[in-house]
């Protein structure tokens, strides 16, 4: 049925392709420019990473993982991601909730502040944390020294910087989803006697799960890949505060190209995996949306009795008080 519907729809509309497109020459030129750009700046570097990594054979590639410092760097990176992603998951949900479900003064300011980590250079972000938490010249130097707490040049500092850098990712994914969702379902749950937590876990969360999932993937990719802020706060101590991106740089500076690109290939794989998962999410969301529309049309109206141009969209337009 879906196939028939879509076919009919296509046939009904006049083909406007020719009327609105550019001459063939310009079309080809544009395509050429786009593809060469993509190839040069996206595809080629990716290939280069793997080519360099395997340049001297698979044996040397896997030998990199016997390097103790490399393993430490991978473990540290995993640890940092394991700390910062859950923290931002909670924060992102809370922020998106606060932004979309309530209206109050200063809300647009909050939205702007949320984007601060995007706007600030990571190096500056790192420096700010050093300025606050350094035990030698930081604002909080005295109390930190007194209780013997190390933040800068240690794991807490790296985690802190990473949390800051990845702060907006989840909230930014969730806000549009939650906005589109509206508040009616939550209100319905409320009138049915459900409390806040129950409403959140049984109504709000399931509705945003794909947006949330995508936000988490992005957040994770960035948490594992962050360089600038982490470089400033970590001190880059091999085997202790050197994360994967930092260690890659160290290796590269030591002219150990194969090892550097081997580790770089891991991060590249992470990026590819992120993109695959993103596509999967898009596909799931599109699928559920199509299902809704199609089913709606099939059950609401006997097929083909309505003009096809007016096919199924029941757009909610909330009535304002």
């Amino acid at each position: 049925m879906a196939a028939i519907l879509s076919r009919v729809r296509h046939d009904t509309y006049p083909k406007t392709d020719n009327a609105i497109t550019e001459p063939r020459l310009i079309r080809w030129l544009l395509i050429l420019v786009a593809i060469s750009f993509l190839g040069l700046f996206l595809f080629m570097p990716l290939v280069a990473v793997f080519v360099e990594a395997f340049k001297q054979g698979t044996k040397l590639y896997f030998a990199t993982f016997e390097d103790k410092y490399a393993v430490d760097a991978i473990l540290l990176t995993l640890k940092i991601a394991a700390i910062s992603v859950p923290l931002n998951l909670v924060f992102g949900l809370a922020a998106a909730w606060v932004i979309t479900k309530f209206s109050y003064r200063g809300k647009s300011l909050l939205v702007t502040v949320l984007d601060l980590p995007f706007a600030v250079s990571p190096v500056i972000a790192g420096l700010i944390f050093v300025l606050i938490f350094s035990t030698t010249h930081g604002w909080l130097a005295e109390p930190l020294k007194e209780y013997n707490i190390r933040i800068i040049f240690a794991l807490p500092g790296i985690a802190l910087a990473t949390v800051f850098i990845t702060l907006p990712f989840i909230a930014r994914e969730l806000v549009p989803v939650m906005q589109a969702q509206g508040k009616d379902e939550e209100f319905a749950a409320l009138t049915l006697g459900a409390g806040g937590w129950r409403t959140f876990f049984t109504v709000t969360l399931p509705n945003v799960k794909w947006g949330l999932f995508y936000g988490v993937i992005l957040c994770n990719a960035r948490a594992m890949g962050e360089f600038g802020a982490v470089a400033v706060v970590s001190g880059n101590i091999k085997g202790r505060t050197s994360t994967l991106p930092l260690y890659i740089e160290t290796l590269y500076n030591e002219y150990n190209g194969v090892a550097a690109f081997t580790l770089a290939s891991i991060l590249s794989l992470l990026a590819l995996l992120t993109l695959v998962l993103k596509n999967f999410v898009d596909w799931r969301v599109a699928k559920s949306r199509n299902n809704q529309d199609l089913n709606l049309s099939l059950f609401t109206f006997p097929p083909f009795t309505r003009p096809l141009a007016a096919l199924p969209h029941e757009h909610p337009c909330p009535q304002h008080p």
């Binding site: 409390g195 809704q292 909330p318």
Partner: protein
């Protein structure tokens, strides 16, 4: 359970949504809140439900059956609420949707799984959608969804049912069917019901009592027939049903006393009588030209223009009569307003024009 809301004020920022609204709904009645968009009707409903609260320190009280619920949250008021866009939980089956309220009860009051299943089945039968329990909301039509939303709202046996433009998102046919169905349904289960609509036909057909709202205030309250026949303000007469409106002195017969001062004359289209010009003309006959004739169903709607005044107005006559008079576009006819209402100095004065051309005032 009766509802009583007194002195409700509500402002959103600088916008006054409700300005001292008081309202009473007797037990078991079906009351409609009717008004144009922005009149505050939905806000009243949401305040009754506990989804919004009246402005503090304005002396607002809301009572359900004499019990003060002003500060009670939505979940504790025991109301069933139906939303314009259904607000069904998309990711839950119909069964889970309907059972949601029962499952959300505190542990002590929560019925067992079997009891919930039984209640869900009972409700599905009540809304005549048995067998759809395993489906998802997206697999249902708009009308079906709204009935499920109703079943869900009724699951915990609320004492009050509140519906916010329940048929607003449905197409005309389904809307009419569902409207009739709701009427019967409400009569059967006798639940105190308040519903919001901007469709006057819907309100008049469905409700025991109509509360007309305008500009954050209640304009008039009464039985549908009564509000229609005895409007208290120009707003109500213009909002309820079609009406021709003439400003004073222009189209009114010269002898009418109502021409004094600033006044407006109203005539319902079905009170406009059309005669052929040669029939006994009298003082109240107005020469008009037929501009357009639209006839579908039992009645014909005729657009006319008063000759020499460029004042268009409408008449509604039976098809039978249309045929008898053999009216055609462009014909000059004589028009008599059988029943006129003149609004002047803050009140209406009603008059009938008799067959013999005498104007008789109707005692208010």
């Amino acid at each position: 359970m009766s509802i009583r809301a007194l002195n409700i004020h509500k402002t959103f920022g600088n916008y006054k949504a409700l300005d001292d609204v008081s309202l009473e709904v007797p037990e078991g009645r079906l009351v409609s809140l009717l008004g144009p968009s922005g009149s505050g009707k939905t806000t009243v409903l949401r305040i009754l439900a506990g989804l919004e609260f009246p402005d503090p320190k304005t002396g607002a009280t809301i009572e359900f059956h004499g019990e003060d619920v002003t500060n009670l949250s939505a979940g504790k008021r025991g109301v069933g609420f139906v939303f314009q866009h259904y607000a069904l939980f998309k990711h839950m089956t119909i069964e889970r949707n309907i059972g949601f309220g029962l499952r959300a009860k505190p542990r002590r009051e929560r019925p067992g799984d079997e009891a919930i299943a039984a209640r869900v089945k009972e409700l599905l039968e009540l809304v005549q959608l048995d067998g759809l329990g395993k489906r998802y909301p997206s697999e249902l039509s708009g009308g079906q969804r709204q009935r499920i939303a109703l079943a869900r709202a009724l699951a915990s046996q609320p004492k009050v049912l509140l519906l916010d433009e329940p048929f607003g998102a449905l197409d005309a046919k389904v809307r009419k069917d569902l409207r009739r169905w709701l009427r019967l349904f409400q009569e059967e289960i006798k639940i105190t019901t308040v519903f919001v609509t901007h469709d006057q036909e819907e309100a008049l057909e469905l409700a025991d009592e109509v509360v007309v709202m305008n500009n954050a205030r209640i304009a008039q309250v009464g039985a549908p027939q009564d509000v229609y026949d005895n409007p208290v303000s120009p707003f109500v007469i213009e909002f309820l049903g079609n009406v021709n409106r003439f400003t004073a002195g222009v189209s009114k017969p010269s002898k009418s006393q109502a021409t004094e001062g600033k006044s407006v004359l109203y005539v319902r289209p079905h009170d406009v009588d059309i005669r052929l010009t040669d029939e006994n003309p009298h003082d109240y006959a107005i020469r008009s030209k037929i501009q357009h004739i639209f006839s579908a169903g039992n009645y014909a709607r005729i657009s006319l223009d008063r000759i020499g005044y460029n004042e268009p107005f409408e008449a509604e006559i039976s098809r039978e009569k249309l045929r008898q008079l053999d009216l055609k576009v462009g014909m000059i006819v004589s028009v008599v307003f059988r029943h006129i209402r003149v609004f002047a100095k803050g009140q209406f004065k009603e008059s009938n024009v008799r067959e013999d051309g005498q104007l008789v005032e109707v005692a208010g």
